[in-house]
Amino acid sequence: MNKQVDSPKDKIIRSQHVKLGTKNKKDQTFTDVNTMFYDTEMTPNFLTGSEVIRAAIKIASVGTSVAYPITPQSEAAALIGELYSEGYLDEYFRGESEFAVMGQCAGASFAGHRVFTTTAGPGTLRAMENFPMWAGSRLPIQVCVTMRGINSPLSIQPDTLEAHFLLESGMLMWHAETAQDLFDFILKGFIVAEQPDVHLPIATMCDGFFVTHTKDTVLLPPDDICLTPYDPYKSPVPCMDMECPPVRMMRDPFIMKSNYISYMTHASWQQEIRAAMERSRKHTIPLLDGLIDTHDLDREILIVSSGTAVSQGREAIRLLEEEGIKVGLVKIKTIRPFPHEEVKEATKNAKHIFVPEFNMAGWLAREIKAIVPDNHRVVAGPHVAGGMTMPSEVIVEEIKKYLGMKVSSISNRGS
């Protein structure tokens, strides 16, 4: 790196086209993001994850949201509809399928709105063709993915397999552990995704039901302030409103002739999307206080995970501590861009790295194995799926088994 970007004191650059302190039609005051996140008094609220999404969107100056029902995001999508009817959004409607919804979101984004939508599970996969299109077209749309099972037989229950399919979509991917994370990620996600040097779609992900349908205490700023709106004329590509040059402009022309020029342009375009993702680190690190959180890195055993598996890991650490086994923790907040250097550094002294996940594929473990030296240290597991909870005891058991200690399987309990 040619420049240090780890200072949490760095100022985040906001859109400049509305005057701070002026009010929107709902009497909310446009507020600098730095003020909103660092200098505003937060008050505790006891809310479900869906209600937290509503609370975030209420102060996010969103232009358009398009909705479609699929469990477990339906409630949040409907609550955003209530915000629309109260006048907090300019446009909201129900699309006909997730594929169409993501197209409608793209249309709104091409035309210069800040756009938010939600989806889950099979809906994410039905919409899938749109995500690399969003990224390639530099549309900074935010999609909140409340993850659930995707494969047959049908299940509406939590399962994070769908994230695996999004890894190379070109979208930024942030994985919330808690409702508080989700609130922060939604607001901060807009700021990072819309930076002119980033300008990519962002998936703010949470584990369905565990986050969306449980109540938690969340610190919220007052709702009479709001983010400054999106400025379409800071975009790295022309806005499609016939108000900016060039008018002879197709978003985006085909690059598929059979010649080297075309191949090179397409390859460079793909590189540019990845470069934009790299650039997001600089804006994300101060806003999220780093791409990872860490505790007790001096310990030989580490749990490294993302989402609600981190919460289960925290409890497992407490249980192990009671037995005299000391374990540290790494919480990964951004899956894309992946915190390569941070994870390498955080795990450099660990002898055993456990990666608990709510899916069968173990995609997070693969990501970690691909970047850490001596990757035999990485234990991909424990895994649960299909809606199973992950009792902390399961993580405890996995670690103890691995260490050659005696365990009593929790599946025997009750017998």
Binding site: M1, P238, M264, K282
Partner: protein, 210 residues
């Protein structure tokens, strides 16, 4: 591993993007020179020296300054013209971004999909992109670094371009004037333009107008 530097090419069959090699963009008040973060003022002098030392210094104005969609654009265009005369430098437009190959005169126009053709045809050794949308500028800058030995610069109204060998950020009319001032100052100090004599290309439907 040593720090990657954003040097003129030809670098590779498919060169990496500078961002993927760990080059981070400058903050307000800064610029980057070959990947090194420097104060903006240093950049003006560095750029001025590069322009004066070049045989074929060239400015590539893009749609945002070629089209008079607002008064600011017209002022920037006037400043760019003045800068080109001060150096002196060729002006070659990137009027829009549609793939034009092969129906293009690559000496008279530059296109983000094959900018290397314009560099090769004109033997351009130093250039500045200005008023080009960032995405398209990045494509062009990287392709040029891949296949030519041109020293690329970008005067960007947003966050800058790490794929250029030198880039400024947040630029306005004043920034263009500052660069011109730096050129004039060096000239006063006795630095002479090395530009080979040229005439700006102008075209009609039949081709070049001499």
């Amino acid at each position: 591993m040593s720090q990657y530097q954003v040097k003129p090419g030809p670098e590779a069959f498919l060169p990496p993007s500078a961002a993927s090699m760990g080059i981070v963009l400058p903050d307000p008040g800064e610029c980057h020179i070959e990947g090194r973060i420097a104060p903006e003022e240093e950049g003006y002098e560095y750029a001025a020296r590069k322009l004066l030392g070049a045989k074929v210094p060239t400015l590539f104005p893009g749609p945002l300054v070629l089209w008079k969609w607002n008064e600011k654009a017209a002022k920037k265009a006037a400043a760019i013209r003045a800068l080109s005369e001060a150096i002196p430098a060729r002006l070659i437009p990137m009027a829009d971004y549609r793939p034009k190959y092969p129906k293009i005169d690559p000496e008279a126009e530059i296109n983000p999909n094959h900018p290397n053709l314009t560099i090769w045809h004109n033997k351009i050794d130093v250039c500045i992109f200005i008023g080009v949308h960032c995405h398209q500028a990045n494509l062009a800058l990287k392709i040029i670094r891949g296949g030519t030995d041109c020293f690329t610069m970008a005067m960007c109204a947003q966050a800058g371009h790490e794929d250029a060998c030198l880039s400024f950020r947040d630029i306005g009319v004043e920034s263009i004037m500052k660069l011109m001032d730096a050129v004039n100052k060096l000239k006063k100090e006795g630095v002479k333009s090395q530009a080979v004599p040229f005439k700006q290309i102008s075209m009609n439907r039949k081709g070049r107008v001499d």
